[in-house]
């Protein structure tokens, strides 16, 4: 079969253009939604005791009286130049704060994702090879149970065990700003438990299905060793599903991050988003929305690219739906 890299490049370019369009549409929708809401950032900036006169003065100061369309265009132009603007509540630049929060969320998210894969894959393979036996049933049941419990409940359980009873770790993850890695343990653990359960379930099913494929039976009949069958025949084929599961997991993790960061006071993007929403800090909400959307789109693009690389059928001339 002939490989078509032009096809691969074309696909990736098309996806990238779609991704840019998605981000633009999201930014417009978020901006419109924020302008439809009758919320006013002056309450968060000045407090509930602010008089109408104080609010009016503050609105003028922060250009909140400018009509929405020129305000959006001004904001979008800034974004294209990498300028995220100024918070209408704190009057400080959003960019540096966003960068710091993004880095901290990336540490939390990537750490949890990697740990979940490292934990779930070996378990999934082991369970798949012993499908239906006690270990498989036990681990699968545990994975389903963990998946069924909301992150908030898992987080509280983790706090009760590791903070109240064992007193091993701090409940506040605020120390991460000063490089205290202890502060990372509980939020990572909470996110990892859910993510690992998700990866485990998908990877197990994929490995079980692949192991029952005709070419694997042929390999067994040919007398190949179990390790060779697993690593050379089963895993490369099961990997496509695993990559998709990990990508989907990354997306799910981002929503989990919002809950977990607020429970532990972890100073990441999730907490920034909630605080910006509480304060009606429009430019900050917009900035976080655009950054997280971009992140999701990039994760999807990477997953698509990885699947193209892993599955030769998708990059072969005349392959797929056109056949």
């Amino acid at each position: 079969m002939e490989l078509s890299w032009a096809r691969v490049t074309g696909t990736l370019l098309r996806r990238t253009a779609l991704a840019a369009l998605t981000v633009s549409i999201v930014s417009l929708v978020v901006f419109a939604a924020l302008n439809i809401l009758p919320a006013d950032p002056t309450t968060a900036a000045l407090g509930a005791e602010a008089t109408p006169e104080m609010r009016a003065a503050y609105r003028r100061l922060m250009n909140l009286d400018v009509p929405p369309i020129p305000r959006y265009l001004h904001w979008a132009e800034g974004m294209l130049r990498g300028d995220f603007g100024i918070s209408v509540v704190s009057r400080t630049p959003i960019g540096p704060e966003l960068a710091q929060r993004f880095a901290l969320t990336a540490i939390l998210g990537v750490g949890s994702l990697l740990l979940s894969v490292v934990l779930a894959l070996p378990l999934a393979v082991r369970s798949a090879r012993r499908a239906g036996r006690l270990i498989d049933v036990t681990v699968s049941a545990a994975a389903i149970a963990v998946s069924a419990v909301p992150e908030f409940v898992v987080a509280i359980g983790v706090i009760v065990l590791f903070v109240s009873n064992l007193r091993w770790f701090p409940v506040s993850s605020n120390g991460i700003i000063e490089g205290d890695l202890n502060a990372l343990v509980l939020p990572v653990l909470t996110l990892t438990l859910g993510a690992a359960a998700y990866v485990f379930r998908h990877a197990r099913v994929s490995v079980v299905e692949t192991m029952s494929a005709p070419y694997v039976r042929t390999a067994v009949l040919n007398g190949f060793s179990p390790a060779r069958i697993l690593w050379c025949h089963v895993m490369p084929n099961a990997a496509v599903v695993v990559v998709n599961a990990v990508a989907l997991n990354a997306i799910t993790l981002l929503s989990g991050v919002i809950v977990v960061e607020n429970v532990f006071g972890y100073p990441g993007l999730g907490q920034l988003l909630v605080q910006a929403l509480v304060a009606n800090d429009f430019p900050k909400i917009e900035a976080v929305a655009v950054v997280t959307t971009t992140l999701l789109v990039v994760v999807n693009l990477l997953a698509d690219g990885s699947v193209l690389l892993l599955d030769p059928r998708l990059r072969t001339q005349g392959a797929g739906a056109r056949r």
Partner: protein
């Protein structure tokens, strides 16, 4: 002739009775000391770790903005106000040691404490104070101090007479100047400080603690000011504040000894701390009022019998027991609690009388009760939903039925002063302040009463406390009887702390004052 009034310094004029009392106390103290039973001095050193939950990434070091409970505590550790307010809202010496006004209360002179230094070791002068007052009075600064003073005082008439004397020449009479200068927005900065300096540079105040670090919405730390003017204070080496938004996590932090104090927490906490001898609830009583606010121009609230029926229909003691874990005090259907210095001693809370309430409703044309055509919209504050639920159940029993809708984070923008039936959350204030707001821009009930307005004007026209009290008593009584507020109980702000943390003082200015706190 000048009328020197309310020079409420610790060093008051020594009267004969005061001298005898002081002498008696001295002898008593000496006797106790000889027996070795004198209370120990506060222990010095240690780090106080306080947890808050409403820190926001929108917070900054701009000390003219204090939109939540976190920022006033933070700023008042670093800055001082010109005067200080006690918990009865009476002005006490702060950076100003004493003050006087002319009889017409138009010229005010403040004498500053000597020897006060900023954190950078420069001495405080009246120039700094004059500049600060002008700075917070700017329209664009949008401070509460500015909005209270601007109708009376032209900033050009704020003058440093000498290094230790500040003079304000008002355009018209205003007797509460010293009160306003004790509010949290009346902070003293260095002469020439600009907004951008506050936003970007290390804060420099005269307060008990010196800035160490700040991360918006996350953490704040300040260390002991060794040159603080209040001799010996503060006692602890450092104060650290962290933000944990989740209530359950806050309490776990306290009980795991990872925090010494959790601020603004749920009433459910009192049950959780039962049997925990190392930690205790720390209520600041009568700190807030959460009343049902009825717009009197809207049917059926436009019928006085309906409002009266609602006031008679609430069981105040049940409110205190069920919605506030027994920590609240009786409400008098107005914004001023019974312990306020201006409160009329003979005014009693209404006892529940369901039969009379039903009869009033019948007289108003609702023999079968009334289903309110609008919801009760509640503010997103701790404990408010409990209050709404109890009110709903109690008022349903007399025939006033309604649904509850949570106003969420946009309450102040979407429901406040717009919906006819709301349950907001107000901090307690001096009667001149709260009635000033409730009769103008913040008139939630749309109540108008010439007698009340005349009494307010009379109270604001005299510097005599007793005369003020007579007038405010009238105001409080009219509100309780006729206004559209149903305030069954005065709520505490509930904190919790470790038993070893002593000397923290809740107040209405900084909310929590750590300057005399120690870790025993």
């Amino acid at each position: 002739m000048r009328d020197r009034h309310d020079v409420t310094s610790d060093e008051r004029l020594i009267t004969r009775r005061g001298f005898l009392r002081a002498a008696g106390l001295t002898v008593g103290a000496a006797t106790l000391a000889a027996r070795g039973t004198v209370e120990a001095q506060p222990k010095k050193g240690g780090v106080i770790r306080a947890v808050f939950s409403d820190g926001n990434s929108g917070d900054s070091l701009l000390a003219t903005k204090m939109p939540n409970t976190w920022t006033p505590v933070m700023f008042l550790t670093m800055y001082d106000t010109i005067t200080r307010l006690d918990n009865g809202f009476q002005p006490r010496p702060g950076l100003a040691e004493s003050w006087e006004s002319t009889n017409d209360a138009k010229t005010w002179t403040f004498h500053l404490r000597k020897g006060v230094k900023f954190h950078d070791a420069t001495p405080l002068t009246a120039k700094d104070v004059a500049y600060s007052l002008k700075f917070v009075m700017r329209k664009e600064a949008a401070t509460y101090t500015g909005s209270l003073l601007r109708p009376y005082l032209n900033p050009d008439k704020i003058r440093a007479v000498d290094d230790a004397t500040l003079r304000l020449e008002l355009e018209k009479k205003f007797v509460f100047v010293a009160n306003v200068l004790g509010l949290r927005y009346s902070l003293v900065f260095k002469d020439g400080t600009a907004d951008n300096d506050l936003l970007t540079k290390k804060p420099v105040g005269t307060g008990p603690f010196v800035f160490k670090s700040f991360t918006a919405g996350q953490a704040f730390a300040a260390t002991r000011n060794p040159s603080y003017w209040d001799e010996g204070k503060p006692y602890v080496d450092e104060i650290r504040m962290v933000n944990i938004p989740e209530e359950a996590s806050k309490l776990q932090a306290l009980q795991a000894n990872q925090a010494d104090l959790v601020a603004y927490t749920d009433f459910a906490l009192t049950a959780q701390l039962k049997g925990d001898s190392a930690h205790e609830p720390f209520p600041f009583k009568e700190a807030a009022w959460n009343g049902l606010c009825c717009n009197l121009t809207v049917e059926p609230f436009n019928k006085p019998q309906v409002i009266k029926a609602m006031k008679l229909g609430v069981d105040r003691q049940q409110f205190i027991d069920t919605a506030f874990a027994g920590l609240a005090t009786m409400g008098f259907d107005g914004p001023v609690p019974g312990s306020d210095p201006y409160f009329p001693a003979d005014l009693k809370p209404l006892a529940r009388d369901a039969a009379a309430a039903k009869s009033l409703l019948k007289g108003a044309g609702y023999p079968n009760g009334v289903d309110l055509p609008f919801d009760l919209v509640t503010v997103a504050s701790l404990g408010v939903n409990n209050i709404a639920q109890v009110a709903k159940e109690q008022l349903a029993e007399i025939g006033v039925r309604f649904k509850i809708r949570q106003g969420g984070p946009t309450f102040w923008d979407t429901a406040y002063l717009k919906e006819p039936f709301i349950l907001p959350d107000w901090n307690r204030r001096h009667p001149f302040e709260i009635y000033g707001l409730l009769t103008s821009t913040e008139n939630m009930s749309k109540f108008k009463n010439p007698e009340l307005e005349a009494a307010l004007a009379a109270a604001a026209a005299t510097t005599n406390f007793n005369e003020q009290k007579t007038q405010y008593a009238k105001v409080i009584r009219i509100t309780a009887e006729q206004d559209g507020y149903v305030v069954p109980a005065y709520s505490p702000r509930l904190h919790a702390k470790s038993a070893k943390l002593q000397g923290v003082r809740p107040n209405f200015v900084s909310f929590l004052d750590f300057s005399a706190a120690s870790l025993g």
